[in-house]
Each structure stands twice: as C-alpha cells, then as structure tokens.
Symmetry: C2
C-alpha cells in the first residue's frame, strides 16, 4: 500500500531512533553539566518533534534551557547562549530572542533559553509556549497516530506547504499534529482538508480571529496556530488533498525535481505569449531566511506597484533564491507609448490656472477640456520598464538587507537575454506553473 | 471698440430689418388666407428671435399656427401641415410633432401648429410653451439689451456652444436671452459666467433639478431651460469667458477656420506619440441631425466600451460628420499580447472543477493557484483592435439609422492609412485639440 511504502522511506529505523535517543541524552547531560559548572539555576528539556515522537529521518533536536521566572532577561540571554556555545560550538541566532544552533553528531541542534512558567498566560518570552505544546501532544496523541503525523508532514513537504518559516509560510509541525488529533488519521485529514471552504475555523471562538485559517491553540486560546499560513498555501494544500484522493501517488510525498526546458523551448513559449519578460538579479543578501523572504516579497510588491503606477501592466511575478536573487516579471508589454493622457482639475477649480500654465508648453497638446475637466496629453516619463526599474529601484521600500545588496550591485535583463543556462529552471517554473506533483 | 465692431457684423441693417418685417407680414397673411379658405379656426403668430428682436442676420422665421384647445390632435397635425405646405411648398419635419420647414424669400421658415393654451400648465403639445417664452422676453427684455443678446449669441456661436440641438448640446437662444435678463448685459454675463462653479443654479428651487446647470424657466417652474446643455459645453463656455476677459479678441466671435496640417506634419505627430490610431468610416445615415448625433455618440461609446472590455486602452475618441461619418480612436496600442491572464473561481468553490476542466488543455498553462483563486493563462480572443471592431461592430448597440448604414458598408483604417487628404482636417482637429478661438 502507498502509505506503507511512504512510511518505509520516512520512518527512522529502530537503530536510527536509538541513536537519536542517545544523542538527546548526551546533549541534555552536557547542558546539565555546563549549568552546574556555571553555578546557575536552570534545567535542560527536550521539546519538538523528537520529544513528541513525530519526527522524520534526520530530525532537528530542540533543547530548551528553562530558567526560573525571576531570572533577569539579560541573564537568561547571556547564560542561555553560553550553555549553547559550550555544548555545540555553534552559531548564535537571533529570532525574536537569541539562541544557539549547531551540528552535533550529524544532527542539527537548537539550544534555546526560556522561562519555566507554570501557566501559558504568564508567558515572558516568545518561546515559553513551546514546552506546553510538546506536553500537550505527548499527552493527547495516541501512539498509532504518530505515523499519521509523519505521513501528513511528508505530504505537506512534497506539496510544498510544510514549515511555518517565512520562506514557506506553510503548516508548522505542531499544526500537523493538531490536524491529526482533530481528524483522527492521515486519511481523514486529507479527506477533510479537501472539503475546506472559504475560511477554516477550528477551536472555540475561532471566528474572533482574522485570517483564512484559524486553529485556536489548545494550550493558549489567544493564539491562532495557523497565523503564519498564506492563503495560497491553504488553497494549494486543499487542492492537493482533492487530487491525492482522486489519484493517490508517491509523487505527492516525493515530487520529482522539475527539469529545466531547453532554451529553444523556453524562447518559443515566450514568443508565443507575446508578453514581455524582465528580470532583476542581485546577490543574495547576507541574512537569515526569516528576514530575507519577507524583504524579497516586499521588494517584489514594491516593483509591481511601481510598474502599475507607471501604467505597465504586470501579468505575473516571482523570485527564486540561490547565491543570487532572480526576481522575474512578465508584463503585457515592456514598452509604453511616448504619450500619456494626464487629467487635471475640474474647469471651475481655483487650481485650474496652475495646471494650464504648468502644461501650456510641455505637452503634445495644450490643456484641453473633456467633460468638466482639464486634460493634457503629455510625454510619459518612463516608456520602458527596464529604465523605470533601473532609475527607481534604489529608492523603493524593499527592506534593509535587500536594499543593501541592490545598492551594491544589480542588473536587469530583458526578453531573450534572460535565457542564460543558470536561469532555465527558474524560467521553466515561472512559465510552466505546474504543481510539484505533476513533474 | 470690439463689441461695436462685432455688432456691425451681426446686426441686421435697417433695410434688412424692414425686409424681414415685410416677409413676416406676408407669411402671416398667407397663413391667415389659407386658414380662411380651409374654413377652420386657427390663428398665425410670429414667435422666436424675430418676434423678440434678438435675431442675427438672416434669421429663421418661426410662425406658429394656434388652434383652439378643443381641436383634436389629428386635426391639428393634418391642417397644421396643410397650411405649412400651402404657404411654403416645403418639407415635412417630424420632431416630437410634425411641422413644415421651407425657404421663403431666402429665409428659412418653420410653420408649426400648436394649441392656444392660456396657461403653461395646460400644455398639450411639446411646442405650446414657445409663445409664452416669446411673450416673456418681449415683456421683460429692454430695447437696449437686445444687442447684448446678439453679442452673447454670436460669442457662443464662435466658441461652438450655441444651439440646443443634439448636434451641439449647447445654449438655446431663449437661454441666452434669460442670461442677459439675469446678468444685465453681455459684459456682465461673460464676467459672471467666468466665475461659474461646479453646479450653476439659477431660479427658485433650482436645486431640485439634476444637471450641471439649471435655469428654471420663468414661464414654467417645472422646466430646466439648460437641460440640453452638456457638461463639456458649460466648461468650454466658462473657460472662453475667462479667456475673453483677459484678452478680448474678434476670434471669440468669428473664429478662423482650422487649417489642416500636412500629411508629413500629421505623421510626425502621430509617430512622436507612439500611440495607435484607428478610424471607422461609413456613409452618413439618412436621418435628421437630432436623430443622428445621439446615435453617433452611442456608437462611439459602444466601441469605446467594446475596446475596454477587450483590454484595449482608449486614449481618446471623436467623430466628424460629412457625407461620411469619420469616427476616430486613439489607443495606447493597436495590438495586445497573445496571452491573457484569466481569473477563475476561488479554489474552494463548487464550480472550480468546471473551470479547471474547461481550461485544462486550452491555455498556455494549466490552471494554477494564485492566493485563493484559480487562474489560467489563455489565448486572447482579439489581439488587434481592427479585427475586434470588424467582428463586433454590427452587433453593437448604435441606434437604428447608424446600424443600418454600418450594415450596408463600413471600413476600418489604421495608422498612417488614415492619412488620406479628405481626413487631414479631422485628424488635425483630433490631434491638435485647439480651442476654436486659437486658430
């Protein structure tokens, strides 16, 4: 059966599970030793998918260092990092809150300081809720449901909607677990999700929250577990569920890699459409993905808005991240006519005179009257989109790191000049619009 | 002084005035004789600008045949026409109501039957109000104001806003007279009109009427004398008044004829703009102007709407009437890309399946998801505006007579092919957008 075959691929073997268990114990005892040496009051605990038994192969290991609630914030941060760095030789990360991340015996490990609160309502830092999630799942998820969680996670990975991080805006592991608790099994979850409607509301008073999907956190009624989820990912997941039910295939869990089309094929597709393509290319900004992706979305949105303000009609846009950022736009046309109709005030308005004086000489016509307004046919400022972006890009609101990289260096390529080999895959995905399970 | 010089040109000489007076007397007595011979009960009276003494050179002469109010409508129409045809050897015209028009001793004469009502409220036909207007002006307009009316009429003629007929949508002669009564003199009227604001309300309870300008008829409080006036003509008149005050010149009264630009010059202007031009040309429909112009406006509007529905961006449009109708459109582009983005239902909608099935094979892409909607990139039906108009023109709502003429024969010309000699003047006016006093 398909599900069994998939599980075989994702379920850690018993020796792997044992190795993970040992690694966790080592990490916890190293943390405890360090705490002891430092002579402070704190306690290491395992949280996340390993603690809950819902992990896939090669899971991340999340160790939280719990400090008493009367610990000063600065103390917690300083010693939290100290413990992490001693154990991991790792790298400091700053989310809302500093922590250490590193590789330990081949596993990615996070060591995160938090406050040992007794009630979620007393939450003092962004991560204090996590141990409650872990506890809730351990207490409520039945053993036989753990593999259902694993299947759902892998299905979401395959479809491209797994992970609450900014680069994905998808379903978190905890949300997967809650969906299995809610619907009972992988099969039921997929069936139910295929029937999701406009707004999905789960949990009491879910209607009080905004958003396309609300799953009220069972450990904190003030939180929507699905808040990071984009509308597109909800739609994509719902559609994938329906398609999977019609025709269950391994490709939903393990999609094939898209193959780039040939230059000839891409050129033919571009020419047939008769639209224009332009791409902005710049170096990958030096920041974590959780900062980078929101900035790239902002940058894309700003350029789309810039084009619209200047009458360029955008058909589609996207970006792809590698060592470069490849941000591509499809437009109805790369060029606009030289002339533009410019509407002025109504004829009776006091400022009509200024408008007429301003445009008396500058336009293709003098100002003239249309219905009750002044109008003038003037020279358009930007008649091609490349020049427009070139001139305006450094002034756009794009976020700190993107802005820095763009200021350093960027290029804009148009039409068939985009078709360099390293961009074939991006252009294929951009033009082709296939779902991941369709390759 | 300018006004005196203008008056010299427009004021009938005393011998001309005498000739007009004699002609009117002849017409009235011929009507009376005919009435007598027919043995019916009716009475001819002079109305309009000749009766009011506000006429320009070569005025139309309007004779009304007043029938008792107990006359049957069919009787009035039959004998009204009979009298007109006997006196004039003229042509039957049907406005709301039949009358005779013809040339008599070089003057255009209308002979119009009406009911001799004693109170405007009892109005039985569309024209019964006219004798009251004539009486009102005779009783209220001072002798020395008659030339002010004449100046205002000529000014409006020059500016292009004189005449309530459908081809102009301007100021009627009666409205000119009322404006002089209201403001006192030509100079004051021009000064006041130059200060008109968003909505011009004159007369008690004027605010009860719709329209950009309301002048409540002093003989009928239920009627707005300015109802036929277009917003554009009000604006144009206001602007002309302001310009005239700044710099009074004979050109406002007697504008020079616009001179067509050369083919070379027109072509240069068209190319510089970078826009596209297309013209629809068909024979002048066989109907009176009061029917023709509303239909032509409707036709123009329908084509503009058709273009907009099909994503063609219209910059400007106009039509010119001769033995042909020359209807011209300026567009951002005569062509659009082959591909068009087509938005479908939201992903969760029951009809989403139909949309996906419909477009599965037909598009440049299969349907894909954008936010929470299905989208597909499809082939555009009409990629050039000529083909679009060609295919759709006979199905458009354009009015009976225009439709008939277009069905018989039409042609569509584009770009530089429009530049045939007979269209140079139209293209000059269309592109140049000068005011009439600026040539």
């Amino acid at each position: 059966m398909l599900q069994d075959r998939v599980l075989k691929n994702i379920l850690p073997t018993s020796s792997e599970a044992l190795e993970i268990k040992r690694t966790v114990e080592e990490l916890k005892s190293k943390c405890a030793d360090t705490i002891k040496k430092l002579g402070i009051n704190a306690e290491p605990i395992l949280v996340g998918s390993v603690a809950k038994g819902t992990y896939l192969k090669k899971p991340d290991i999340d160790i939280f260092i719990m400090f008493p609630t009367d610990t000063k914030r600065s103390f917690l941060e300083k010693y939290g990092l100290k413990i992490g760095e001693t154990v991991l030789n790792g790298e400091r990360k700053y989310a809302e809150h500093p922590y250490t991340t590193g590789i330990y015996k081949g596993y990615e490990v996070d060591i995160v300081p938090c406050y040992k609160i007794t009630n979620v309502k007393e939450k003092m830092s962004a991560v204090d809720r996590t141990p409650f999630h872990t506890k809730y799942i351990i207490e409520n998820l039945k053993d036989e449901q753990k593999n259902d969680v694993r299947l759902l996670k892998q299905f979401m990975k395959g479809v491209g909607v797994y992970g609450a991080e900014a680069s994905v805006q998808g379903f978190s592991g905890y949300l997967c677990e809650l969906l299995i608790l809610k619907y009972g099994s992988f099969a039921s979850a997929v069936k139910e999700a295929g029937c999701w409607k406009r707004r999905i509301l789960i949990g009491s008073h879910a209607e009080k929250f905004d958003g396309s999907m609300v799953f009220v956190d069972p450990v904190d009624e003030k939180r929507n577990v699905a808040s990071a989820l984009s509308a597109e990912n909800i739609s994509l997941f719902t559609h994938a569920c329906r398609e999977y039910i019609k025709n269950p295939r391994a490709e939903f869990f393990f999609p094939k890699k898209p193959k780039p089309l040939s230059k000839k094929h891409l050129l033919k597709m571009m020419n047939e459409r008769g639209t224009g393509f332009t791409a902005l290319i710049f170096g990958k900004p030096d920041t974590i993905d959780d900062n980078l992706y929101p900035q790239l979305r902002k940058c894309e949105k700003s350029i789309v808005a810039l084009c619209a303000e200047n009458d360029f009609k955008i058909v589609d846009s996207a970006f792809y991240v590698n060592d470069e950022i490849f941000m591509v736009f499809e437009l109805e046309s790369l060029e606009l006519p030289n002339m533009k109709k410019h509407y002025g005030p109504m004829v009776f308005m006091p400022n009509a005179k200024d408008f007429r004086e301003k445009w008396e000489k500058d336009g293709f016509t003098s100002p003239y009257i249309e219905k009750n307004r002044w109008v003038v046919n003037i020279k358009r400022k930007h008649i091609n989109v490349k020049d427009l972006i070139n001139e305006k890009i450094t002034g756009l609101s794009t976020g700190k790191d993107v802005s820095k990289s763009v200021r350093k260096k960027f290029k804009i390529v148009e039409g068939k000049n985009i078709l360099q080999k390293k961009y074939f895959l991006y252009m294929t995905m951009f033009i082709d619009k296939k779902f991941r399970w369709e390759y």
